[in-house]
Structure formats: C-alpha cells, structure tokens
C-alpha cells in the first residue's frame, strides 16, 4: 500500500527540524530556505502549519509540464522531477494550486517533495509526530484534496 505524509498542525511546535532535515537530505546543507517542506507560523493564533506537496491525484504540475519532466515513482506514488528533462520553464510552479513546486535559481530547475524515495527525512526528524509517514488512506490529505477539487478548471472526472 502506498504511504504518504500525514501532517497534524496542532502537534507542531515550530522547531523547524523538518526544514533542516529536508534541506540536508536533498541539498546537502542545513538551510531552511532550501527545504521542500515549509512551516508557516501564525503568531497571532500561536499556530504552526507544516506544509508540502500532497502528491495529489490531480498532479497539476505533471499535467502542465511541457517536457514530461515530472514523473510518477511507481513504488512511492511521488511525483518526481527528472532534472535531465526539466528545462526550468516554471509552468508547474504557477500551475500547482498549492504552491508546493518552487524554482531553484541555483540549478535552473524546479524542486518539490519527492518523499525522499520512500523514507521522508522530515517525518524522521519531527520530534512531536506532527509529520508522520503512514498508509495513504489514513492521512489528513483528504481535506487538502477536497480543496484541490474545488479548484475547478480541471474536472474531477478521472481517466
């Protein structure tokens, strides 16, 4: 069964260990600015919300790519960037309605969460289990996916 990231913002303390781990795993440096997961801080409400790609079924990024550079990893279900094919046109960054594909100036390619090949560093690093890697059916992503369906240019009909 496919597994996916489950995020429970109410458990997040805002320690940013996930950002550090992601950046180190994927970029080799401890630099939250290079993390594919981002913790958004709501000071007024005292709330922290970790957020990254949901590997959504609609795959807006993949559908919008003109060079077939976003591919599905059959083992993990993750939508992954193939750097050899990505030309850096950035269409996926504006097509993803969740804002979770970003352009990396340093490489001229886009970056997004790829579930670290099936063993996500953010989930391992989270000390409060606000981020866990669980069976896909159990995640809170259904809520986010409902919002995906409300972005209604793309019909919910599935092939």
């Amino acid at each position: 069964m496919l597994r996916s990231l489950s995020i429970e913002p109410e458990k997040c303390t805002g320690c940013l260990q996930c950002e550090m781990a992601c950046s180190y795993e994927n970029e080799g440096v401890f630099n939250p600015a290079k993390s594919r997961i981002k913790v958004f801080v709501f000071e007024r409400e005292g709330r922290n919300v970790p957020y990254t790609c949901t590997q959504c079924a609609d795959a807006w990024c993949k559908n919008a790519c003109p060079t077939e550079a976003i591919q599905i990893n059959a083992a993990t279900g993750a939508k992954e960037i193939n750097n050899g094919l990505c030309v850096g046109c950035k269409v996926c960054t504006i097509a993803c309605p969740f804002g979770t594909v970003n352009y990396n100036h340093a490489t001229g390619k886009v970056i997004k969460c790829d579930l670290c090949g099936g063993d996500p560093a953010c989930a391992k690093a989270c000390p409060t289990q606000a981020i866990t890697f669980v069976d896909a059916d159990w995640t809170g992503y259904s809520k986010m996916r409902n919002w995906a369906q409300r972005t209604d240019t793309q019909s919910s009909a599935q092939v």
Binding site: K38, F40, Y51, T67, T100, R150, T153
Partner: protein, 414 residues
Amino acid sequence: MRYAIIGAGPAGVVAAETLRARDSGGEIILLGGEAEPAYSRMAIPYLLAGQIDESGTYLRHTQGHFESLSIQYVQDLVKALDVESRRLILKEGGSVEFDRLLIACGSHPVKPQIEGLDQPGIHHCWTLEDARSIAKYATAGSRVVLMGAGFIGSIIMEALVRRKVKLTLVEMADRMVPRMMDQTAGNLIKQWCIEQGVDVKTSTRVKAVTPDSSGKARYLLETDGAGEIPADLVVVATGVRPTIGFLAGSAIETRQGVVVDDHLQTSVKGIYAAGDVCEGFDWNSGNRAIHAIQPVAAETGRLAALNMSGCKTLYTGSLAMNVLDSIGLISTSYGAWQGKAGGDDAQQLDASRYKYIKLQFEEDRLIGAITLGITEHVGVLRGLIQSRIALGEWKQRLVRDPSRIMEAYLAKTQ
C-alpha cells in the same frame, strides 16, 4: 470509433493519450503538421540557449511511445475539413476519415505590415526549423534585433542573451510584456534587462527593413523613435493567431479561433477543439477568450478527449496564467490582474530589489495577481483564485502585507 486529432502539440498529444486510456479499442490518428517528432514550442528558447538538444524539446521521450499506445502519428498538414463526409483532406494528397475530431492545430506567428519583413534572414521563433535558422546567425557578437517584447519575445530574449549576441529589443508599447504586466512591473523588467546589457527600446515602431547598402550589416531597420538600427539577424515576435484558415467555408463556427461550447464541442456535433486554436471562456469573466498557454492546452486537450470518448465533462473556462524569466528576473501574472470595476487592490513594491506583488480583489475574494522577483509558493495564487476562497479577515491582512498569500491560503483551508 475512429478519432482524428489535428495537431501534435501538448493539447493533441494529451488528448490522444486520454482517448487511449478511455477507449482501448478505438482507432486514434494524430496529425502533426511539421516533419518532426511531437515537440514543445515552449522548450525552443532553452534549445537556443544551448541548455538542451533538440530531443529535449520532445513532448514524449520513450522510444515508440505512440506505437505502444496504438496511436497512429501522421506527419502531414490538413488542407481542408469536409464536415459532410467527415473527412480531412491532407496536403500530400491523402485523406483521413473520422467519427470524432479534435481540432488542436494551435496558432501561428504573424508579421506586422512592415516593408521588407519578407526577406531571408528575418525569422519568427516558432518552430524547430525557425530555431535552426536563428542558431545559424545568432552567434557571439552578431547584431540581432528582436521585434516584440511580449511574452514570447521576452522568453526568446533570454535565449539570445545566452548566445552572447548584441541584442536590441524593439517594442511598440510603452513597457515590456504589456499584456501580462502592469506599468510598474513592465517598466521594472525593462530596467532590469537594460542593466543586463540588452538595448531595450519601448514606444518604438519599426517602419522598414532594408538591406544595408554600406555593407557594414546585413540589414538596417528604420524606426520611428530610435533612428536606424543595424542588424545581422531580425527575429519577429509580434504575436500569434489561431490557425483557422483551413476551416474557411466549413460549417465550423470561427471568430478569433474555433468557437467551442461548455464541453469544448464546436458548432458541429462530434467535432471538438482544444489548445491555442480554441476560443473558449475566460474563467474569471465568463467572456469568450483564447488563452494560448501551456497549462490550458493540456487541460483542454484532456477535457475534450473525455467528452469525445463519452465521459461528459464540463469545461468551466480557462484561467490566464503566465510565468516569465527575463534574464533571471522572474515574473508571474494570474487571472484578472488588471482588476475589475468595483474591486480593489493591494500592492507591495521594493523597486531597488526588483520585488513587487499586486493582488486584485472582488469583495473578499482574490481574482488576479502579478508578482515580480518572487519564486516561492507562487502557485498558491492560483489556488486562492480558483477555489474562490472567501478570505474574510485575511483580506485586510493581505491588504496590509500582500506577501502573506500562503498563510492566507493555509488559514482558510487547513
């Protein structure tokens, strides 16, 4: 069932694949008008910039991709459509009969009415063949004049800069990318490009292109506003139009493009249109519109194919969205970025750092946006617009600090 698809760009290719997924036994014929594998015009600037080779522009990279899906890929131009006998007449003399048809033949570049633009050495930058011609002449130090600083012109500009040519960009409007950027952003992009060494001349019209009799350059461009400009190569990027000429005299209703209904069907039953050639609806206003952009091509290609194969799927209109990289300065625009009567806006400008964001609201919903110098989480602007999220108290927070788009989205959805 026999499906024919005119056009092997993103709309046509996505449609062919969607049809195959829906109908394993149907016959699918994909017609490409150029003697090339199915490729992406969007990738051409990266080819010219030397970042990829020609195969990097291909829409699909697996050997035998279409054969493996039993999609027949035919390289020929469609000369005419006979609606009565449901037949396409091909340029090379053959014909293709169909039960259902998708018109996805895209658009073609147009030259303005200027004397001397039909000479050799004056090129569009639209096809792979154009790119090969440009690559031949756009060599280091050569004098290149690029006519048109719209979206396409501005993308080609970056490629030409990377080829180290001496570049002059001539634009009739008073700023760069006038159909995607407001005055503030368009002027900042211009200023940035000038700083990067491009000679940008806005509010300038080319009057004539003549061979340079002095022999110092290949051509002289006579302008009103900027004197005479010498050029070894002229690239014309002054706009594109839907390719509908071959439909003249057929029963298919056309205006600017092929007119479709809310299922992407044309005025003739069983014949659909998608991509650049298709005149659909603007998602914001509901008005007739052609959004000749990659995401819309892929989306309409898929939706049209669903409808063609019997899965009734509503087309709710297309959202205008663009992203542009002007020699490292990245800009985006979404939806009703010009605003709407009775609406209001919020903006934040840091001109010295080339950072700008402008949001347009209707009541407490986001309807359009422009960004400059921002690459983090820009896609959420689409989410905010197309989910029609009522922002409530977050509208005022965005008015105070428009950069908090991601927080607004999360606060309202999580």
